[in-house]
């Protein structure tokens, strides 16, 4: 015992920057020798709960693990379910899904940027990030009627059509965000202190990133141009033009810059989608014909979907389906096994944060105590999403 050089530092779960988890850090002076994440503090048995719920009830359930990124989670689940049911959403609904997914990506990246700011000590970036995410929350509210958990995407379509004047409002919002991004660059991204804290810190090499199965912006910051939206396009992505943000450095700064670039790309996607969006129904023909004529009229005038009665007891045929989408934090996989009843036999969701949790042990090593929050923030790790 007398030879012990290191001290065990327990960071969290009651710590200003630990999030809902605990980090076991073994420190030798100011150097972190080893760090182990202890996850599971916000495990909510989403997968097991899903087996007891009807298919339509799972939509609000899968949104909960990741509030900032609810639409992508919703979308991934519905895509898997649609595969099981053998239906497809009409083109207009596909575009609306894409728009909401990209709005959520912007929202989530601002959220991550704000959290990272306060971890580095910049309260301004924290406030800015959380204020500017509000723009996308507000726009989502106009589109879906809810601020955070929209439950907007349903099997065979979406629940609401574009509201009047949405395009102009969105253009205003996007122009505002563009202006704000310049401010972020001046105050945070090119700030000498930020650069000193992030450049060359927590470097993830390309080979390691691939070997560890890292996903999302963390992977792309290490020079791997892997994006599900390009690799296996879904919704309206094949018809839209956008670049995959890639950087070669692999350090914390690169991870932040990739996210900022993704915000720009998402804005590009939203602009294109709003311009190209085709006319037509927002619910699949299969379901549309089940709706009584009076309600159909209501749907067409109000632009809101009335659920056909069959949705309450969706019974997909026996089989299994897998879907993957590019959520804000990375590749999100849903796997459903159906035994022909109203609830899934087995439900599996693999969230991007869960796949990135391995980075804690890999990146936060041989660095300083002050680097723990710097690297943690750059990973944009979200404990509830990982714990599910």
């Amino acid at each position: 015992m007398s030879e012990e050089r290191t001290m065990e530092l327990l960071i969290g779960p009651q710590h200003p920057s630990s999030g809902h988890m605990r980090l076991y850090a073994e420190v030798d002076g100011d150097i972190v020798v080893r760090l182990k994440p202890n996850i599971g503090y916000v495990h909510r048995t989403v997968e097991k709960l899903a087996e007891t719920k009807k298919y339509i009830q799972i939509i609000p359930l899968v949104e909960r693990p990741s509030l900032a990124d609810a639409a992508n989670h919703n979308l991934g689940y519905v895509l898997a379910l649609e595969k099981l049911l053998g239906i497809e959403a009409p083109p207009r609904a596909q575009y609306l899904r894409t728009i909401l997914a990209e709005m959520n990506r912007i929202h989530s990246h601002f959220y991550g940027l704000g959290i990272h700011g306060i971890m580095l000590g910049s309260s301004t970036i924290f406030m800015w990030g959380f204020a500017d995410r509000e723009i996308m929350i507000e726009m989502a509210q106009r589109l879906t009627g809810a601020r955070l958990t929209y439950s907007y995407i349903i099997p065979g379509g979406v629940r609401r059509d574009l509201p009047q004047g949405f395009e102009e409002e969105m253009e205003k919002a996007l122009r505002y965000i563009e202006r704000r991004l310049k401010d972020y660059g001046k105050l945070f991204l090119r700030n000498p202190v930020t650069r000193a804290r992030l450049e060359g810190v927590g470097v993830l090499r390309k080979e390691d990133a691939i070997k560890l199965g890292i996903v999302g912006p963390n992977l792309r910051a290490s020079g791997v141009p892997y994006d599900v939206r390009k690799v296996q396009p879904y919704c309206a992505y094949p018809e839209l033009e956008f670049d995959v943000a890639v950087r070669e450095e692999g350090d914390s700064m690169a991870r932040v810059l990739v996210r900022v670039e993704e915000i720009r790309q998402s804005m590009r996607i939203i602009r294109q989608a709003l311009k190209q969006i085709p006319d037509g129904p927002i619910l699949s023909e299969n379901y549309l014909k089940m709706i009584p004529p009076k309600w159909k009229e209501f749907m067409e005038t109000k632009g809101r979907v009335k659920f056909p009665a069959i949705m309450a007891n969706l019974r997909p045929p026996k089989g299994e389906a897998i879907s993957r989408v590019e959520a804000a934090r990375g590749e999100l996989v849903y796997y459903i096994i159906s035994d022909g009843t109203t609830s899934p036999y087995r439900f599996r969701m693999v969230t991007p944060s869960f796949r990135n949790v391995v980075l804690f042990e890999h990146l936060i090593r041989e660095c300083r105590v002050a680097d723990i929050p710097a690297i943690y923030g750059s990973m944009d790790y979200f404990p509830p999403e990982a714990d599910r």
Binding site: L10, G121, T124, W128, A370
Partner: protein
């Protein structure tokens, strides 16, 4: 009636006698509290302006929440100061009190005007800086007494960073002493006639002194000792109630004292006194206070701009950048003397 008048007169005389006025009113205790009240409110207001929000607002809404800190202080006073079982109780309780006291001490060495001072000493600059150097030692004790790993790390950070700023701080102050040929703060002000402010004569010393003042009082970007996202509150993690309030106030007091010293050394101290305010000591005191407050506002504004450095980066800045610069400022002073810019 006459008796009452004479009693009033006597009290006024007592209050305005330098040995009571300086430690008690200006720059001492009363002003210290007013400055803390103002600067913390203004810091929050200023940061809020940058951060697209209101800041303190609801306590005295007419003045924009100006007395928010009075409300906070009352809350601190009535909150239970929890003393954890495993702490060194004596050191734990006395620590914040001594820390706050140690930050206030140096005000006695600071003159209010050429004819108004508590103590006149040839080395009043050294006395002020020397008294300021007590603080870090007490912070170290607090960090150890708290019996908390975060406190321990915070205390050690304070120890390391003290080494990095204290030496260059003394050197840049002494370079000004060399320039003016005195360590007496009054004579320093007297030497700055006309445009010849220390800031213009030796900007190198001024810049280093200001950066070191930020470093020594945990202002951003050197908010390393209390780095909240890393070590919770550093040495003060275990504190609550009024004891925590004292530890928080102490760094502001220290910054205030350093700004007073900066104003005296580099900004001409209490000069120029406007003619309508020539009543000694009120006029000079107000001028000196105003200069220091402007500096403090500049210092606390950094919070809205910078994240924090890592400890090793701050130490590198202290030893590799500021120390050579402060030594350079000594040579600059000597050069100015050789060139005959200063008598």
């Amino acid at each position: 009636m006459m008796n009452l008048m004479s009693l009033f007169r006597w009290i006024l005389d007592l209050l305005f006698s330098p040995w009571l006025f300086v430690p008690l009113i200006f720059p001492g205790l009363v002003t210290v509290f007013l400055v803390i009240l103002f600067i913390i409110w203004f810091e929050r207001k200023l940061a809020a302006k940058v951060q697209l929000r209101y800041g303190p607002l609801y306590v005295l809404k007419q003045l924009g929440g100006a007395i928010q800190l009075v409300a906070d202080l009352l809350r601190y006073l009535f909150a239970e100061p929890i003393i954890p079982a495993e702490t060194d109780k004596l050191a734990f309780v006395l620590g914040p009190i001594l820390l706050f006291g140690a930050s206030c001490f140096p005000t006695v060495a600071i003159p209010v005007s050429s004819s108004f001072y508590a103590i006149r000493s040839d080395i009043s600059l050294l006395v002020a800086l020397g008294l300021l150097a007590f603080g870090p030692a007490i912070t170290l004790i607090i960090g150890w007494a708290s019996n908390n790993k975060f406190s321990l790390i915070g205390g050690l950070r304070e120890g390391y960073i003290t080494m990095a700023y204290e030496i260059p701080l003394f050197i840049s102050a002494l370079s000004m002493a060399a320039l003016y040929g005195t360590m007496d703060l009054i004579e320093m002000v007297e030497s700055q006639v006309g445009w010849k402010w220390g800031l213009l004569l030796n900007p190198l010393a001024a810049i280093t002194f200001l950066i070191l003042a930020l470093m020594s009082t945990s202002r951003f970007p050197f908010e390393i000792v209390e780095a909240e996202s890393e070590i919770v509150m550093g040495p003060f993690t275990e504190y609550s109630g009024i004891l925590y309030g004292l530890t928080m106030g102490a760094s502001y007091v220290k910054f205030y004292v350093l700004c007073l010293l900066f104003s005296i050394m580099f900004l001409g101290g209490w000069k120029p006194v406007p003619s309508f305010l020539s009543w000694d000591p009120i006029g000079p005191a107000l001028v000196l206070l105003l200069k220091s407050l402007i500096l403090m506002v500049l210092g606390v504004f950094m919070r809205a701009v910078y994240p924090r450095y890592r400890i090793d980066q701050a130490l590198k800045i202290g030893w590799h950048m500021i120390l050579p610069l402060s030594i350079g400022s000594v040579f600059l002073s000597l050069g100015l003397i050789l060139l005959g810019v200063v008598p």
